[in-house]
């Protein structure tokens, strides 16, 4: 049995598992069993993917006699698919493990159970598809199932809004993809990916397809300015689904982009690169700024997803720029950075969403300004969250640092590019990415500091209890992945080297030749990074400092008024709030980019209301792009509304008039 057969079988099992859950809905053990089976099936994906990564470059193919008549469904598991299948398998299985514990707290578990396993299966089919029809069908099924999952808590007004916005954006994205594949197939209608690879296209077609892919895959991944649905929809879903959507589904969207732009479209000219790099860098900065301003913990995480997608797109754009100029080694470096960051983001974003879910479970709260002090009540969750927060802030020796370091190494290769425009632009984009990385650290210090440190700001936070073992195990596995991929990045890079070789035509130096812990992007003389050394250094310094403090500090008992500056006796509101921590950056960067305005509302003398500081932050994309469009659509729809109430004869006259017009047009045109 070839690898593709196994993975299709696993996907089919997942697709069937959902309806099966509906049939068995009365069983009390249902939730745990469904999630456990889903976890096993996804682990199967990861295994199959790992095996296929070591296999031949063309992978294994399969044609099923379903789908369009005479064409059937073409499926193939090649190296690129295998890598993403590993990401999907790991993310899916660990999330399902988490859900065994987390899912018990759902009020209506069936609303999730019916859609969750098929959602995983549909994502796998997107990765396996080898013709346009199968790809688009699986993509649309994936979109619709995730939409149904977003609407799990459909009684909340915000969730319904999120579902509506998501549905509109998903429909728009699929339409763009449909057009892109139509153009790729050309007039002859070669819908198999093989036929598309061989086709010859004019530069105009190539440019339009690239634009459509940025719209279609970009809207699903969360590329600005198409990101607006993401911070609404991802947090609205139950937390394990949020983890899956942010950690895995955005990666499936990236897979679609990579598959078309790097594989099917053939070699691109250099002008494609600056568009992708600019969009990526802008998305990264905008996303993390919005995350910095957000006080809802899950929403802040969703905004941070947008930032990471931007980082990955920038890396892909760099790879395009280098590849167009024949700089294969640099292109392989940028592409490896993108793939590595895709893997890493799956790990730490899933971990963080699970942590947020644990907090939500324990306290019922998502608002940072009402949390606090959770490190005392939920020590294990707090520690695992800390690992995730450090990883996403790209601090060594964790995995986020390794991939972002590779990305910046690729940025530093830009002087080799002959086009002066790109030479100017790439360092600027690199500056933007560095800004985003720094802001990410600030944003996550804020989330962790306000949420987990200090004292509880509400009774719910003060009486939180640690979550169940399944959830902790799942988070623990992800934290371990973050640490191990950070200390042994060479192993991960070697494992994904065949993928880079297949897509770019070159690869990084074999990392296993170096010492076990070192990664070398181009040559040892140029730069290298040893995560383990940093780990030892950090561990040693921290231990030494801790020992020194305990050894040399005075042990004598001292009595003093505890912190007279309003702490700790007065209200917990005297602690730094989430809004307060965001204020400096809001004032420096937010006033133009986010139209941030703050106003002090002073009560009149004699009025006993408290004074208030009102802060307003807006995503300008909404106001500049979406509101005018929706206003236009609304105005046109209001005008067209009258067409619903014409007489029958007038309808006939309209048809008649149009027919005559078309005939006259035909006459003149012939």
């Amino acid at each position: 049995m070839a690898a593709v057969d196994v993975s299709v079988l696993l996907a089919a099992c997942l697709l069937v598992l959902g309806p099966l859950a509906v049939v068995l809905q009365r069983q009390p053990w249902l939730s745990a069993v469904v999630y456990a089976v889903a976890a096993l099936l996804c682990a199967g994906f990861a295994l199959v993917g790992l095996v296929a990564l070591a296999g031949p470059a063309s992978g294994s193919a399969l044609v099923l006699p379903i789908g369009l008549p005479w064409i059937g469904a073409h499926l193939r598991l090649d190296l690129l698919s295998s890598f993403f299948l590993v990401v999907l398998g790991l993310g899916g299985s660990i999330t399902s493990l988490y859900a065994i514990g987390y899912g018990r707290h759902e009020h209506a578990p069936l609303r999730v159970l019916a859609f969750y396993p098929p959602f995983l299966g549909a994502m796998a089919l997107v990765l396996l598809a080898d013709d346009a029809y199968t790809f688009l069908l699986s993509w649309e099924v994936m979109s619709l199932l995730s939409w149904a999952l977003v609407l799990t808590h459909h009684r909340e007004e915000d969730t319904r809004t999120a579902g509506y916005v998501y549905l509109v954006m998903a429909g728009f994205g699929t339409m763009a993809l449909l057009l892109a594949f139509g153009l790729l197939a050309g007039a002859d209608g070669g819908y198999g990916f093989d036929a598309m690879r061989g086709a010859v296209r004019s530069p105009l077609i190539v440019a339009v397809v690239l634009g459509l892919m940025l719209l279609g895959a970009g809207s699903k991944a969360g590329l600005a300015p198409l990101h607006v649905w993401l911070p609404l929809a991802h947090p609205a879903a139950p937390s394990h689904v949020s983890a899956l959507m942010s950690g895995v589904m955005t990666k499936v969207a990236l897979y679609g982009f990579i598959r078309v732009v790097f594989d099917l479209l053939g070699p691109l000219e250099w002008w494609a690169a600056p568009v992708v790099i600019f969009l990526g860098a802008a998305t990264a900065v905008l996303g993390i700024l919005l995350a910095m301003m957000e006080t809802d913990i899950k929403r802040a995480l969703a905004y941070s997803t947008i930032e990471n997608i931007g980082v990955i797109f920038a890396a892909l754009g760099l790879a395009l720029a280098f590849r167009a100029n024949g700089l294969t080694a640099a292109a392989a470096l940028a592409f490896s950075a993108a793939l590595f960051h895709i893997f890493n983001h799956m790990a730490f974003k899933s971990l963080l969403f699970m942590g947020a879910g644990a907090v939500l479970n324990a306290t019922g709260l998502r608002d940072l300004d009402r949390l606090g002090g959770l490190i005392h009540r939920m020590p294990v969750t707090a520690f695992l969250m800390l690992v995730g927060v450090l990883a996403i802030s790209a601090l060594p020796p964790l995995n986020g640092f390794a991939s972002e370091w590779l990305l910046f190494q690729a940025v530093l290769m830009s002087p080799g590019i002959p086009q002066s425009g790109l030479q100017l632009m790439i360092p600027a984009a690199g500056g933007g990415l560095a800004l985003a990385a720094a802001l990410a650290a600030a944003a996550f210090v804020r989330i962790y500091g306000v949420g987990f440190l200090g004292r509880a700001r509400s009774d719910a936070a003060g009486s939180a209890v640690e979550v169940d073992r399944f959830s902790l195990t799942a988070m623990g596995i992800l934290a371990a992945i973050c640490v191990l991929a950070g200390i042994f990045p060479g192993v991960v890079l070697d494992a994904m080297a065949p993928v880079v070789q297949a897509v770019i035509g070159g690869r990084l130096p074999v990392q296993a030749n170096e010492s076990l812990f070192t990664i070398v992007p181009i040559a040892e003389a140029r730069s290298s990074y040893n995560g383990f050394l940093v780990f030892i250094f950090v561990a040693f310094c921290a231990s030494a400092a801790s020992w020194a403090v305990h050894r040399f500090a005075s042990r004598q008992l001292r009595r003093a008024p505890a912190w007279d500056c309003g702490f700790p006796d007065a209200s917990t509101m005297t602690q730094y709030s989430a809004g307060g921590m965001a204020q400096p950056l809001r004032r420096v960067l937010g006033s133009t980019l986010l139209a941030a305005r703050e106003r002090v509302e002073m009560p009149e003398p004699g009025d006993r209301r408290p004074a208030r500081l009102v802060v307003r932050v807006a995503d300008l994309v909404w106001q500049v792009i979406y509101l005018p469009i929706s206003g236009l659509v609304g105005a046109v729809a209001t005008r067209m509304d009258r067409l619903q109430f014409l007489t029958i004869r007038l309808y006939l006259s309209l048809v008649f008039g149009l027919l005559i017009l078309l005939l006259i047009g035909l006459m003149l045109w012939q």
Binding site: I648, R649, L663
Partner: protein
């Protein structure tokens, strides 16, 4: 197709168009039904001539269908409906007869110019036949648009179908299945609309389709 055969086919197809114009001119329902029967008769003659010329016996069936259903049964049934409803005196044309005739002439000119241009490669008869057929179709549509009485709209619809059958018969090798299905669809449309007329009459005491709009509760 040459000589006398071409002339006869041409005459019959042109006759269809002429009768279509006669239908537009009629402002009494019973006269309209008679003209419609005449059109169906000309159609059946035309199709029968095509059957004889093309040596295609299945076209005789089509001719028979046109003769029996459209020239006899449907006009008689519609005539009974009109008499039962007592609406033989009313024809509310929306646009004046003269203007409608002018529009009809324009439509014929359009379809002839268009068809002669588009089908430059086909043989002479097929081109003329298609031009006539398209004219008849457009005139049928014109009639549906310019009349507000349901019965005359039904007649306009069936006249439109006649034009289609004329085109189908003129094209060599058109399978019989299509013609039968078209004929039956007309019959079905007739039955449905006949029933609909009676119900309309029962409820609103009028077959004027503007009565339907009141039911929808729209603010016109």
């Amino acid at each position: 197709m040459e000589g006398l055969a071409f002339d006869i086919a041409h005459l019959l197809a042109g006759g269809m168009l002429l009768v279509s114009f006669m239908m537009i001119y009629q402002d009494r329902l019973l006269a309209l039904l008679k003209v419609f029967a005449l059109q169906a008769l000309v159609l059946s003659l035309s199709v029968a001539w095509q059957a004889y010329q093309q040596d295609a016996p299945h076209l005789y069936v089509t001719a028979a269908i046109a003769l029996i259903f459209k020239a006899v049964i449907i006009p008689i049934a519609l005539r009974r409906i009109v008499l039962q409803l007592g609406i033989q005196r009313q024809v509310e044309t929306v646009v004046g007869i003269g203007l409608t005739m002018l529009a009809g002439i324009g439509l014929s000119a359009l379809s002839i110019v268009l068809m002669l241009k588009v089908t430059a490669a086909a043989d002479a008869f097929a081109r003329e036949d298609l031009a006539f057929a398209l004219s008849v179709v457009l005139l049928g549509l014109l009639m549906m648009v310019t009349r507000s009485n349901a019965v005359s709209q039904v007649v306009g619809f069936m006249s439109l179908e006649n034009g289609m059958i004329l085109a189908a018969a003129g094209a060599k090798g058109m399978p019989l299945v299509v013609e039968i299905s078209v004929a039956f669809s007309v019959l079905v449309a007739f039955i449905v609309i006949g029933v609909f007329l009676f119900r309309l009459r029962e409820r609103f005491d009028s077959v004027d389709i503007t009565a339907l709009e009141d039911v929808r509760g729209d603010q016109e």
